[in-house]
Structure formats: structure tokens, C-alpha cells
Amino acid sequence: MRNRILLIFVLAAAIAVGPLAGALLAQGGSIFIPLLVYRTGPYAPSGIPIANGFVDYFTLVNERDGGINGVKIAWEECETQYDTKQGVECYERLKGKSPVLVNPYSTGITYQLVPKAPVDKVVVFSMGYGMTAAADGRWFPWVFGFPTTYWSQASAVIRYIGTQEGGLDKLKGKKIAHIFHNSPYGKEANPTLEELAKKYGFELTQLAVDHPGQEQKSTWLQVRRLNPDWIFMSGWGVMNQVAVKEAAAIGFKMDRFIGNWWSANDSDVVPAGDGAKGYKGATFHAPGSNFKVHAEVVKHVYDKGKGAGKKEAMGEPLYNRGIVNAMFAAEAIRTAMGRHGNKVLTAEQVRWGFENLNLTEQRLDQLGMKGFTHPVKVTCEDHEGNGPVLVQQWDGKKWTIVSDWVQPMRDVVRPKLEEAAVVEGKKLNYTMRDCAAEK
């Protein structure tokens, strides 16, 4: 009986795997990067495009350039279902393959990995998510959050709302609601928003939505009662589409509903149909697939049948996020190679590359990403890069950028961030390193 089940399983697996076995990369002599992904579960709508973008860019680098300066990148996906425990299991499993960096793709998992990073000597690259306090490189040398953080994003969104209202001083007395995923991720923006509410005198209401976010009736009842002028949302996965649908159902003005950069993907707005028209979202890179890099991906990856997803899904905001994330990682490794030579690098060397990354406009142009994202300069003190934020809007068919680069309020965010870094660093018994001494 048991044998038969085993047999059926092996047969089923063999049948399923036959056509897919080609997409393999030889290990050894390559730089290994584990990818914690979630292609199943309630967060799959958000997880799939990111993972595809990531893999496609690495495939592009390997196929077109033969790797980074000739050194191939190897990767292995591990399914986390956005679940912290599974993420840790994945990390522990892949740790044995001496990875140079890890992209946790989840704030919860990032919180788990931040303390492990200096012990295991693995760079934690939490691009635009994770622990904001870790953006102070003096306390957290192994964690990178550039191009920008949740706190910077929240301040940039408030600045954007201010400009829409006709000036930051006009925010006084306005009602702004923050609907957030009730998890470390969703809560990250709260302290900044509270600070800004005090500073600019707007009325802030924090509305938590519990995991996984399919049930939001009570939240939107509160929204109706409150009737806010603006809504900012930190949602993820299935929570986003539910929120957009609910907002459309109560007739909220969609152009006053702004999602953060994890809440503004095609999969978040399409289910709401026409109701989603006008919905806005923050981002730090352009949507769409008409950049040179996309043409290269089509030519070198999809036309060779090595694409991770569907060609039509290219250009979704989260797909592009995966591309940007992979590009940052690749460029950081390239920076490290500039100092340590074109070989398989250690994680320490890659960490140096991250810390000294200076991605200029010119370099972005060479990468086929002109206008795709903002140049970034990382320093020892500043692991966030303090990047500006764009606002994109859904017109019913596609996303278009509707703002200039909005600068975050560094004067508000940075002191808070440094304060938090001390608190978080002390918790882990870290000492502050002296950046001047490392120059």
C-alpha cells in the first residue's frame, strides 16, 4: 500500500518535471544567491511577479554577459509562503551553500535574519522593506534597505498629499487614514505617520487589517464613518485587492487612495475592475515594459524559452521590482569585483560592494534602465540611500507615473531612524562602528 503511494508520487513527479528539468544551473565557480519566494498561498499574487522578475534578470545576466564580469550567478528558489517559520527553514537549508546575500522578500523573515546576518556572514538585502532602523549602517553593517525605506516612503507620500492639497500647511485638520497589514511590515510606517501628524496637524487614524486580509468589512465601515480625505495603505497579497474592491464599493474617491509600493500591482487592481480606476500607489521605479532592459529580457530570456513567467506579465510593477532588486544585487557584486577581482566572491567582499555601491544615471543608461529608477549611492552610514518616491496611477488598463520624484522628509526621518537604530542595535548588543575609520 505504502509502496504504491510512493510509486504514484514518484511517477507524478517525474511526469511533471520532465519538461522543466532544463532550467538548471551548474554550481561551483558561481556566486550563489538563495531566493526566498512565495509562489503559493495567500501572498502568491504579490510573490509570483517579484520572483519572476528576479529570476529573469539573473538569467539575462548569465545568458547575455555570461554572468557578472564572467562569473555566473547561481540561485535556488525556496518556497516560504510568506511564512516566517518556513522562511527561516529555507534560510537555514540554503545557508550551507555559502550564499553571499539573501533577499527575504518579507519583513517578518527580515526581522529573523537581521540578527543572524553578522553571525552567518550573509548580506541581508531587504530592498524597500524590512527593519527601517537597520538602514543605519553604523549599527547594522550587514543589512541594506536601499533605495528607500518605509519611513521615507510614508514621509514622501505625506509630502505628495501636501502638494495635492496645495502645500504642506494645508494638511492641517485634514483626515488621513492608514490601513495597514497587522504585522511588523504593516506597522513600520506608523511611527513616522504619527510624527508627521503632530508636525503638520492632520488627523491620523490607524486601521489594522489582520492576516491574511480577506475580511475587511469592519475596517471599511470605520472608513465610511470617518470619511477621511486621504487613505494610505500598507497592504500585501490578497489584502490589497480586497481593500481596493471595498473602497470602490463604498464609492471612495480612488485618486485619494494611495497604496504603498507593495500595494500597487496589477493583481491588486484588476479584480476591482473599473472601480479601481484612479487608484494610486507609491513606487521607486517606473511601471511598464518599454525600457531597453525589457527588450533585452525578451531577446535573451523569453525568446530562448527560459522565461520564468509569461511574457505578457512583464512590466507589472512587482515584476519590475524584481528586476530592480536583481539589478541592485548584481551591481553591488560588480562593485565588489572592482576591488576584489572577477572571481567568486565571499559574502564579506559582497558586503563591501553593497556599502560602496554608487549607481549613477550613466550606469543606469548602460543597463538599459534610463528613467526606470533613480540613481542610488550607498554609504557606510546610510544603507537606505534616501531615495525619492514616485506616485503611479491605475487608469483601468495600466499604471502611469503621475508625479515627479517626491523627496522624503529626511530631516524628520533620519533622526528618528538613528534613534531607532540605537535602540534596535542595543537589543542585539551591537556596538556602533566608526565609519570614518573604515575609509
Partner: protein, 358 residues
Amino acid sequence: MIYREAGQFKSSYASDQAIFPIVQDRWVALALLAAAVVVPAALGSDYWLQAILIPFLIYALAALGLNILTGYAGQLSLGTGGFMAVGGYAAFKFATAFPGLNILLVFVLSGLAAAVVGLIFGIPSLRIKGFYLAVATLASQFFLIWLFNKVAWFSNYAPSGTITAPARTVFGVMVTGPNASPEARYVVAIGVALLFALLAKNLVRGRVGRAWMAIRDRDIAAEIIGVRPLRTKLLAFGISSFLCGIAGAEYVFLYLGSAETQAFDINLSFLVLFMVIIGGLGSVLGSFLGAAFIVMVPIFLANAPHALGLHMPVALQKQLELMVFGGLILFFLIVEPNGLARLWQITKEKLRLWPFPH
């Protein structure tokens, strides 16, 4: 033949009442104990310790706790995740408020905190039975998680609501925090698990355990023969929550390192309940077997295609894993509804007759 006890004479009450009355059982227990020390050392891999064995021991402790309540006392509970959360958050509060406190003492204190909460939520069990009690304990699960999420004091006002285990030592060896070696964590986890397994085993064999089982089998009959239902049920709730609380504290301090309330969500309650059901209701051994099954089989299934040289997309692999795992649960429940512990018992009986079955 292997398990034949012929010739083993008991000459004292103590030897008759031993946990392992048969010599062969003692050898198996000793062999397992030796394996628990030798195998991890031989494997020498952080992955095995940190991702498989430590969670296994912690889940086993939680399953043991729930088994006392559900398996022995017959009170169906879906609040395990909540009680573990009490343990985890209490341990965090104790450890940060009193940095000098020995971490093992912190674990015990957090277990006591969970026990108090368990007692409070156990009070309705006098009036509510069966599935209705499950719903009542489900309420405790949601209430506790909500509480820890809502009141920032529990996480020391961390903006993200995440609690992080501070570094603590036992006899000069670092056992918690990121710098603690997996070996040290493992030793603590197995020490705690064995200690409480021993305590639980003796508890359920004694007067208290018999009272629990009497309540489980027929509460009115138990009342008539002099078992006081409220006290007995509350004791089960208290001890069960105590063990779950310690498991929760270990869960944060030895396994995850840092956690948020979501780590203790309803899925955890179900997971532990499944461990108890699959392992065997009313069996200490079953708690361990069930935990091993639930922790290790998915990991084995996730790694099996890789080991076989099959490479498949992770999503497909995950779906297959869930399907096969679900299938295996069904398979075991159909083949042996009384759980893996009963399978082990049957195996022993078979071995006793082997090679000459009737």
C-alpha cells in the same frame, strides 16, 4: 521473540511500576537517548539542529501539553497557539525586565504565566463540553493574539511589535540570541523536553492522570466515584498551559529568535492539535511521534525531489508537498485511527510473537 518478557521477574514494587518495565524497552529508550546525543553531533550540521530537531522538540513539548488536556482529560482545545503566545511574550517580558534572571527560570516563570491564563480560560470547561469547548478555547486564541498585537507594552513598545530574544547564558554558555550555537540551544531544548516528558509520564500514571482519564471517559461517573470535575479539569488546563507556555517561550528564544503575534496564529493551534491526533491521543510517546511526523515529513518532502535529482519549480513542489502530506495524514488516520503511538504498540506486540505468529 524480540519483545518477549519471559524470565524477567519483578521482585519489588518499584521495578513493577517502572516506566519501562521490560528490559528491551529500557534498551530502546537508552538507545534513543544515545542517538539524541550522538546523531546531531555526527551530523554536525546547523541545519539539522536549527531547522529540524529544535522545532521538533519544542513542538513535542507543546503537543505534550495539549495531549494532557485533550488526550488525557478529554477537553478539546484550540487555544494552544494563544497559550504558547502567552509563554513567548511572558518570557520576553521577564527576560527584558530582569536581565539577571537565569533563562531557565524565565522559561518556568513564563510557563506559570501561561498556566494562570490557561486556568482562567479553563473555567468555562465545567459547563461547556466537546465542540463547544473547542469554540470557547478558540476565542482565547483570538483574544490573546489580539491582546499582544494591540497592547504595545507586551513588545516593549517596539514599533513593529516584534519581540526579540535577548542573549542569555546558562552556566556561562550562550543559549539564546543570535550568537548562541545551535548545539547549546539543542541541549536546552532536549533537556527541557525530556524533563517534562518524564514529569508528564509520571503524572498521567498516577492519581491525577487517572482522574483525568475518568473525567474523559465519563464525567458523571467520575463525579460519582469522587473525582471533583472543576478541580480536575482546571488542573489539566493549568498543567497543559504550563507546558505550552514553556514551549512558546522556547519557540521564541531557542527557535525563532524573534517573533510577532503571527507566529502564534490559529495555524499553530491546529498544527499542534494535528500532532496530538496523529501521534496518538492520550500518549506521551504519541506527542513526540506526532511532532516528528508534522515537523519532519514536510521538510523531507521538500528536500526529497532535490535529493532524487529531480528539479521542479518551487510552486509545484510546494503543492505536491501539501498533497502528499495531506494524503499521508489520511493514510495514517485510516490505517491507525489511534495514532502513531498505537502503531508502535502493535509493532511491539508483533515483535513479541515474531517469528512465530499464531
